[in-house]
Structure formats: structure tokens, C-alpha cells
């Protein structure tokens, strides 16, 4: 049975539709991540799940029970807010035990819960402090502790790590992952961070303008995006979108990338990836999506039997990131990004032969931006 089911939920503020028919269903113990550009309705959806904002229509079920019109307190949900929202006049201890106190848990049990959570998050030495006396990372942990003190059916985390510095963020990410593995509670989590989304999620929902565009595993969303928006939104640096024309070649297809002043680049489309719809796109403009890591140096052998296709281009910018090197190079009318190994010795202006892993390329309709293959 689904731990959390959101069924055709709409939310309007006045005349503005902020959520347009959102439906999601996740199983008990799953980690769902909501991503999407700012203002797409992620926080609104969280508030709707928590019961802080009434929905305009639709239903929300938790453990199979319709909670659409229940108060936040009756939904058995704990939430970590982006701003932490620690009660400023209470000590850390009081902050953590407040929810238990409101639920009339006996004092001894409350103390136990505080100790357990403090131990888990390593904030025992901070218990008597007020929130104002804590660093950002410590506050974040207290906010987490406040949620963890209870054992609700669902945890909601709205960008809990967004205020932390990069290092702490990575640490906390790992801690959250461990926590989830240990507790096994259903979690809905909002983030803007690609890596957070990919590493934490069992399931990612990509939102735009109040719609869920794609709901799937990180692998599906990353490697099998439903449209150009999802493809471009997930991954950093983002996917290269290359204007091309689909042409017939033998019994298969080839992608012709018109290059001003030079020979056109021809990339054969792998025959095993032919789909029925492609025929209709023949000789029409089409968008080829290639992620930076779908390029590699010529001498790097692609895995398995895949050979890849070779192409050559003049590198315009070289950006070493440490772990690897990002190259900017022109392809057709646009400039693309390729990711190569850190050993690649190349200077701007030199020509480089790159292997393209067409087996992982994706094709989009140039007009509707929907996925074709």
C-alpha cells in the first residue's frame, strides 16, 4: 500500500494556479525527491501534504487514509523547514521535546527521545543552548532532531541543506542517507541540488509550473528523460542540445549536424534504438541530446561492444575541475560541453578527436520538445 498518495491535487491562490493536477504515489519507506525551478510549486505541494495550506481540489492519502481535510497535527507528519523555524525562546532540548509534549508523551519518555536524537545527531553538548547561540549547521541538526524525535508516518524536508556551506552539506547529505537507511521512514525531500537529488532519491519528481513532468528513479530521470526540460534540468553541466536533421541512411538513420563553413558532421543513429515514430521525423529538424560525459577522448574505449562514433572539433575553452576536464567546443551552430579525463592534454585552439557514445544519446522533437527516442 502506498504510504503517501497524492491524487489530482490542485491548488490556486486567487486566480493563479500553483499546482495543476499533481498526482504522486510512493511506497512505504521510499525517499521521494522533488526538484524543479524556483516557483514551480514545490513548497506549496509540501505545505499541502502537511496540511498547512488547504488544497483547492484533489485528495491526499497517508497510509491509505484520506487526510485531505485533517489538521496538520492529525496527519502524523514531521517537517524540516528551509528556514529551520526553531522556536527562538526555547532551548534546544525544549525545541526537540515540544512536539512530544504537545502529544502528551510522559516526561520520562520525552527525555529519552531527546537523548536518543541528540546522540544520533551529535548535539548532546548543545541541548541547553538557545537557537541564536548555534551555528547554521548546528541549527540544521536541531531542526532535523525536532522532526526525528517523533516517529511520524512521513517526513517532509523542504531544502533542509540549502543554507549550509558546501562541505557541511556533503556531510549532512551522507548523514541523511544513513538516517533513512536506518529508520526506513517515508521521506519527501525538496532540493535544488543535483547531487543531493541523484544520491538520496529512490524516486525523483521533476516539477515545472505546477505540473509533475516526470516521476521515476534517478536513473530513469537522468538517462531516460521525457522531454527537453527534464533532460536539461537534471545533470550539471547540463545536457547539450544540438540542432540536427534526421536522414535515412541504408536501413537506419543518420543525424546531420550542419556546420557553417565546414563539412557537416554526420552521426549515425544506432539501429537498435530505432523506434517507430522516427520515420515521421525524416528530413525534419530535430534536437539531439548528449550529456557532457557522452563524449570521451578517442583513445578511451567505451564499455561493452559499443564503439561510439568519432568526431573532430576545435576546442575553444578548457576548464579543469580537478576530477576531470570540461571542454567547450563548437558543434554545428552551438557550443557544447564535453567532459574528458583529467589527463587529457589539450590547449584551447587545438583540434581534438572525440568519441561520441550515441547509444546513450536522446532525440527530441524540435517543436514540442518531447522525447522521440
Amino acid at each position: 500500500m502506498a504510504a503517501l498518495e497524492i491524487h489530482n491535487v490542485r491548488k490556486e491562490f486567487g486566480s493563479e494556479q500553483v499546482l495543476k493536477n499533481v498526482s504522486i504515489s510512493i511506497d512505504s519507506g521510499e525517499f521521494l525527491i522533488l526538484v524543479g525551478p524556483s516557483g514551480c510549486g514545490k513548497s506549496t505541494l509540501m505545505n499541502a501534504i502537511a496540511g498547512l495550506e488547504p488544497v483547492t481540489s484533489g485528495n491526499i492519502y497517508i497510509d491509505g487514509e484520506d487526510v485531505t481535510w485533517r489538521t496538520p497535527a492529525d496527519r502524523d507528519i514531521a517537517m524540516v523547514f528551509q528556514s529551520y523555524a526553531l522556536y527562538p525562546s526555547m532551548t534546544v532540548r525544549q525545541n526537540i521535546s515540544f512536539g512530544l509534549e504537545m502529544r502528551k508523551v510522559p516526561k520520562a519518555e520525552r527525555e529519552q527521545a531527546v537523548e536518543r536524537v541528540a546522540d544520533l545527531l551529535q548535539i548532546t553538548h548543545l541541548l541547553e543552548r538557545k537557537p541564536a547561540q548555534l551555528s547554521g549547521g548546528q541549527r540544521q541538526r536541531v531542526a532535523m532532531g525536532r522532526a526525528l524525535a517523533r516517529e511520524p508516518k512521513v517526513y517532509l524536508f523542504d531544502e533542509p541543506l540549502s543554507n549550509l556551506d558546501a562541505k557541511l552539506r556533503v556531510d549532512m547529505r551522507t548523514e541523511i542517507k544513513k538516517l533513512h537507511q536506518r529508520l526506513g521512514t517515508t521521506i519527501v525531500y525538496v532540493t535544488h541540488d543535483q547531487v543531493e537529488a541523484m544520491t538520496l532519491a529512490d524516486c525523483i519528481a521533476v516539477m515545472r509550473d505546477g505540473n509533475i513532468l516526470q516521476l521515476g528513479t534517478p536513473d530513469e530521470v537522468y538517462n531516460n528523460p521525457v522531454d527537453m526540460f527534464v533532460a536539461g534540468f537534471m545533470g550539471s553541466p547540463s545536457m547539450n542540445f544540438i540542432r540536427a536533421t534526421l536522414e535515412a541512411a541504408g536501413d537506419g538513420y543518420v543525424l546531420r549536424i550542419a556546420t557553417p563553413g565546414e563539412d557537416d558532421v554526420l552521426l549515425p543513429w544506432p539501429s537498435e534504438r530505432n523506434v517507430a515514430g522516427l520515420v515521421e521525423q525524416l528530413d525534419k529538424p530535430i534536437i539531439l541530446g548528449l550529456r557532457p560525459e557522452h563524449f570521451s577522448e578517442e583513445d578511451v574505449r567505451l564499455s561493452e561492444q559499443a564503439e561510439g562514433t568519432l568526431m573532430e572539433a576545435k576546442v575553444s575553452v578548457v576548464e579543469p575541475t580537478g576530477a576531470d576536464i570540461l571542454l567547450r567546443l563548437p558543434l554545428g551552430e552551438q557550443e557544447i560541453t564535453a567532459r574528458v579525463g583529467p589527463k587529457c592534454a589539450i590547449a584551447p585552439g587545438e583540434r581534438l578527436s572525440l568519441r561520441v557514445d550515441m547509444a546513450r544519446a536522446v532525440l527530441f522533437d524540435a517543436e514540442t520538445e518531447q522525447r522521440l527516442a
Binding site: 497535527a73 522556536y87 525562546s89 515540544f98 537557537p131 541564536a132
Partner: protein
Amino acid sequence: MANVIRRQTPAARLGRGLLYGVLILAALFYILPLVVMLMTSVKPLSEISAGTLLSLPQNPTLEPWAKAWGEACTGMRCDGIGGYFWNSFAIVIPAVLISTTIGALNGYALTKWRFKGSELVFALMLFGCFIPFQVVLLPMAQTLGWLGISSSRAGLILVHVVFGIAFTTLFFRNFYVGIPNELVSAAKLDGAGFFRIFWRILLPVSAPIIVVSVIWQFTQIWNDFLFGVAFSAHNTQPVTVALNNLVNTSTGVREYNVDMAAAMIAALPTLVVYVLAGKYFVRGLTAGSVKG
């Protein structure tokens, strides 16, 4: 401002000196009436008629204060303003407490439990701040009559509460707007209700604005004359009305020293409140928000 870096050139020092000189003069000018009042109130009558306003008292005496407190005539009765002083307290304290409490609850509800039309309610409340007292005298008198509390302390308290709510609501509303809504959301998820959230989460951080509200209401109500004179009987008059009667009751020689002493007595509580809490008043007025 101790950490402003500035080179101490002679010209700069001279400028400083001038600045301070002007400021001190202005301060002296401002405090002069009070000094004159205080000096006059401890002079015997003979000295007042002989000397000038600014001459120092030769034989200071507390006689005029005692008289103003216990014997001076206010209209028909001659038992000083002491009784009315306590009258004022009996009116002011409940009125301040009630209007501040209601203002706090209003501000809380208007910001953290928005409902359809809450903006309109607030706009109307704001409008209430601009209603001149005179406009409501007659309707208020009628209302108090209907309620059967005209000329009573309860009646005066009600009038002041009704008038004060507009201001206290404004204060608390503007203060609570700056407190993150997530605090309330978190408390709701934790299972707390309307009053519990107010009591446990909002109120503990409201000290600055409570001080503002209390000082404002205290001085407004204490200094009120119009409502006091319109809606009180002789035994429920506030001290401002009694002071007016005292000064206007002529029994031969005008006793300026007694008048001044009475005026000082009437002004003392607001002075004390300002001295004790003025610092917090300014702080509270400027405090934008409490960061969670």
C-alpha cells in the same frame, strides 16, 4: 558609535565642540519648563510673588506638594488630588492590560491565522487610529448608558480599551509580520493549537512590542482628559480632570506652587514609565523582527 574612525584634527574637534554646545543648549531649553515647575512647586507663596520664575527657591518646602495631594480644593470638595491619582491607576492599569492583550491576540490572528477578509479587518482597525475623540463622544455616551456603566470606572475602561485596540493591534500586527510563519507552521505540525502557539511561541519573543504597547497605552490613557471629563462622575474622575478642577477653582490667591505640585504629581507616573522603560520603547519601535 564608538567605533567610528575619524582623525582628530583641531578643526574636527572644534566642530564637535560646537555640535555638543548646540545640543546642550537645545536640551536645556527643552527641560526648562520642567525645572521651573519643579522649583515653583517647592517655593512658599511669598517667594513666588517676590522673585522671578527662574530664581532658585530660598526656603524649599514640600508644603505645596502635601496640599496638592491632600487638601487642595477641586471644585466643591477640598481633599486634594490624591484620591483621583489612585482613580487614574484604577482606570489605566486594567485598560492597558486589556487593550494590550487584545491587541496582541488581534495582531497574532491577523498575521498568523489569516482568514478571508483579514486584510480588510486590519484596514478598518488602522482607520480606527485616525478617528478623532470628539466624533465618538455622543455615541459613546449613549452606548455606555445602554450598558448601564455610564460615569463608572468600568465605562471609562471600556472606552479606553475600545480606542486603544486600534493602536495595540497595529503595533502587534507589524511586529508579528516580521516573525517567520514557519514558526507557527512548525508548531502546528508539533500539535499545538491557536492559544498554545501564541503562549509558547509568540509571546516569549514579544517583550519589545509589549513594552511599546504598554508605554503607549499608559501615557495615552493616563494623559487623557476628554474621555475623563465626559464619562466620569466626581468619584471616578481621573487625575487629569481633578488637576484641571484644582487649577480652575479660585479661592482668593492663586497658589501657583500648589498648582505646579499637582501638575507634577499628575505627570509623575508617565515620567517614571518613560525613564524606566524608554530605552526598550525605542528599541521595540525599531526592532524589525526576531530572527528564528
